[in-house]
């Protein structure tokens, strides 16, 4: 893989880490899976880098977290976090980024904002929850339906992130067209 791609992958991993500095909103139920700004980074990685590099960026981020870097929102890190109810969501992240990137690439003619919004919604919400909800159910010992209903609490925040991701993608397409790697 070319050095340039490596740098881009590392960049989005770092972006997700940086978004971890935005204080998370702790949710006392559902085993404490927080509302976090980091999913914005996951969506952007997919939208901007395309499927493979986007997915790898998120994987790299998770690898660093596993190594002990306190990069998850609230300064959490280490292998321990993979033993919390968040684990399903965390596994869903790279897959979500992959799907978002795939949709972005599959809709080359579409207006950037619209295409990015769809990618972020499907990859960054649908796919992530597909993994996340069973994770919560398993780790927190809740029935699947309860876990699914409870996860609705994240939806408003996630929708805001979808809009932000689309807005950012559109601005970048104007200010730095070369960075829309998913479209080139």
């Amino acid at each position: 893989m070319a050095d340039r791609s490596l740098v881009h992958i590392a960049f989005y991993a770092a972006l997700i880490a940086a978004l971890g500095l935005v204080p998370p909103v702790a949710i006392p139920f559902l085993g404490g899976v927080p509302i976090t700004a980091q999913t914005l980074g996951v969506m952007l990685a997919g939208i901007m880098l395309g499927p493979v590099r986007g997915g790898l960026a998120v994987l790299l981020f998770l690898f660093l977290v596993a190594l002990g870097a306190p990069f998850l929102a609230g300064g959490r890190g280490g292998l321990g976090v993979f033993a919390t109810p968040s684990v399903g969501f965390l596994i869903g992240w790279p897959v979500g980024a992959f799907v978002a990137g795939w949709i972005m690439r599959a809709t080359p003619g579409m207006n950037i904002f619209a295409s990015a919004a769809v990618s972020a919604a499907v990859g960054g919400i649908l796919v992530v929850y597909l993994f996340g909800i069973p994770g919560v159910a398993y780790m927190a010992g809740l029935p699947l339906t309860t876990a699914a209903l409870g996860s609705a609490i994240y939806i408003p925040g996630d929708l805001v992130k979808v809009v932000l991701a689309a807005l950012i993608a559109q601005t970048i397409a104007r200010g730095l067209p070369g960075a829309m790697l998913s479209r080139s």
């Binding site: 601005t171 970048i172 104007r174 200010g175 730095l176 067209p177």
Partner: protein
């Protein structure tokens, strides 16, 4: 560069009214950053229309001019800007003080040239439509009409620097602070900007290593290791500085020859 007559410019040399109110009064001002003493014990008042700032790399020029627009606050001593205390004046300073950063990459915020220029105008209260129109017009007047829609990231360094200067000029601040503003400009652009600056009625404080930019200036400050080493007419200060450089590099040469 001697091909242009400089007579024209020399005639425009201003003489400052010594009774005029100073726009900046430094009283034993010091600045510390990260535990390091960057500026120390500066006492001076600025009232002239054209003031130059010189000094070696790392002597504190950029830090000094940042005090003038509230980007840095003194860590000791008192600084009065436009008659008000620097700390309390800080939020309103950008309206009156235009600041051109030394590195264009540190200044440009917006994605395209037009937005970057228009931003300053919306800041001054123009609506978006009007500010965009004025931005386009301003760019055209300064021969940059064709850059308007371009992403700033795709400009050459010199084009970027020019846009940064224009984005400040368009706001017509009372005081212009320029930190080595012409380092990447070509001869033609340098010439145009110098002429433009000379023709401005506003006050200017400019940092530069190129002394030809100080034509028509009334006063030059020489900073050394964060202290004021000299302060006076350009003729005196620049000559003293050059003599010092000659002496220092002479010494260096001798040492090397040993």
């Amino acid at each position: 560069m001697a091909i242009w007559s400089r007579k024209n410019r020399q005639e425009k040399m201003r003489v400052c009214d010594p009774q005029a109110d100073p726009f900046a009064v430094f009283d034993d001002v010091s600045l510390k950053l990260g535990g390091k003493q960057i500026l120390s014990g500066l006492t001076l008042s600025l009232r002239e229309d054209r003031i130059g700032v010189i000094g070696l790399n790392g002597s504190g020029k950029s830090s000094f001019v940042r005090l003038l627009n509230g980007l840095r606050q003194p860590t000791a001593g008192s600084l009065t800007l436009f008659g008000a205390d620097a700390a309390s004046a800080a939020p309103e300073l950008p309206r009156h003080v235009g600041f051109v950063f030394q590195n264009p990459d540190h200044q440009a915020i917006f994605p395209t040239v037009e937005e970057e220029i228009a931003f300053g105008l919306t800041q001054l209260g123009l609506d978006r439509r009007a500010s965009r129109e004025k931005a386009l017009e301003f760019l055209a007047i300064h021969g940059c009409g064709q850059l308007a829609g371009m992403p700033i990231a795709e400009l050459s360094e010199g084009q970027k620097q020019l846009i940064c200067i224009l984005s400040v000029l368009v706001m017509e601040p009372r005081l212009l602070v320029l930190d080595e503003p012409m380092t990447s400009l070509d001869m033609l652009a340098t010439r145009k900007i110098r002429d433009k600056l000379l023709s401005l009625p506003q006050k200017i404080v400019m940092v530069s290593h190129d002394f030809s930019h100080f034509e028509g200036f009334e006063r030059v400050l020489w900073l050394e290791d964060g202290c004021l080493r000299a302060d006076g007419s350009p003729y005196e200060v620049l000559r003293a500085f050059e003599a010092d450089i000659a002496r220092r590099s002479g010494v260096k040469l001798e040492l090397a020859a040993l």
